[in-house]
């Protein structure tokens, strides 16, 4: 299990949304960071891995053209009905209720549905989030290395400058 926590901007970057969205969703109670919530200017939100998964689900639903109010309903429903851990293979939204399926019963559920059903396969979600996490941490590592190399180079040229001043002092 992944016990890292992620900043707001990292989380947004990982799941592919804007910071504005993340912020709005937090302040309107769609999804708040589980590890650390905001408490005024300067405080820091920390999102857990599970939060990232939920964010990604929201993002996917949004991409599928589902309205935010509906998404709010879905998450409210899932939180009311505890034990709705995202471990299944599919989330199926049927009118006002949400069903978790793992492949076999999926067919039955679909047969009975009379309204519009929204079927969201979770398999891709975890993968995609994981991939973005590694590519993000890769980018961070690269950046750090580049910064360090830069610092070293600056240090080196400073040393050279000192030496040249030592050999040819007062050349101007």
């Amino acid at each position: 299990m992944n016990n890292e926590t992620y900043s707001g901007h990292s989380a947004a970057e990982i799941v592919g949304i804007t910071y504005r969205q993340l912020d709005y969703w937090a302040s309107t109670n769609l999804i708040r960071p589980s590890a650390a919530d905001a408490s005024g200017s300067g405080s820091r939100r920390r999102y857990t891995y599970k939060d990232l998964l939920e964010l990604k689900v929201i993002k996917k639903m949004l991409d599928a053209g589902i309205k935010l109010p509906k998404i709010r309903d879905v998450f409210a429903y899932m939180r009311d009905h505890v034990g709705t851990e995202i471990a299944s293979a599919h989330i199926v939204i049927d009118g006002n209720s949400v069903i978790l399926c793992d492949g076999d019963n999926l067919v039955d559920v679909l047969r009975h549905g009379q309204g519009v059903l929204n079927v969201l396969p979770l398999t891709g979600v975890r993968e995609e989030v994981d991939n973005r996490i590694v590519s993000l941490s890769d980018r961070i590592r690269e950046t750090e290395e580049r910064v360090r190399a830069e610092a070293e180079r600056a240090e080196e040229s400073a040393r050279l400058a000192r030496e040249s001043r030592g050999t040819a002092q007062g050349d101007a």
Copy 2:
């Protein structure tokens, strides 16, 4: 097949939407009346039965929390890909494409989907529209009868008034 055409208000009434919505959808090109489009103030839109079915589909998608832009995409796609007559049992929206299924292939489609799938069973649509049509025409007939009865009663009392005036004229 139903060859009637329906006014804007009737259509709205039948499919369960507001006239404002119908109007907006027509003016923004989501769905225009096939039988007669508007041509300025005072003109009359006429919707065909098929239009009603499409309107009902839109209504159902809306109820399912799907955003209007997405619905526009779906209908644009269906109109581009001619031969997309609504005869199948299900409409499945998979990302940018729309698939029509009739029960058997539905399962396969769902297995392969990686994004969110919106599954809309058409079975109910026709029924519901038909029911609303008959209940609407019932109401119209009732209203007409009530109006006629009212007129008769008025006629009757007018006759009585004439008679009484004839027997006791100048009683004031």
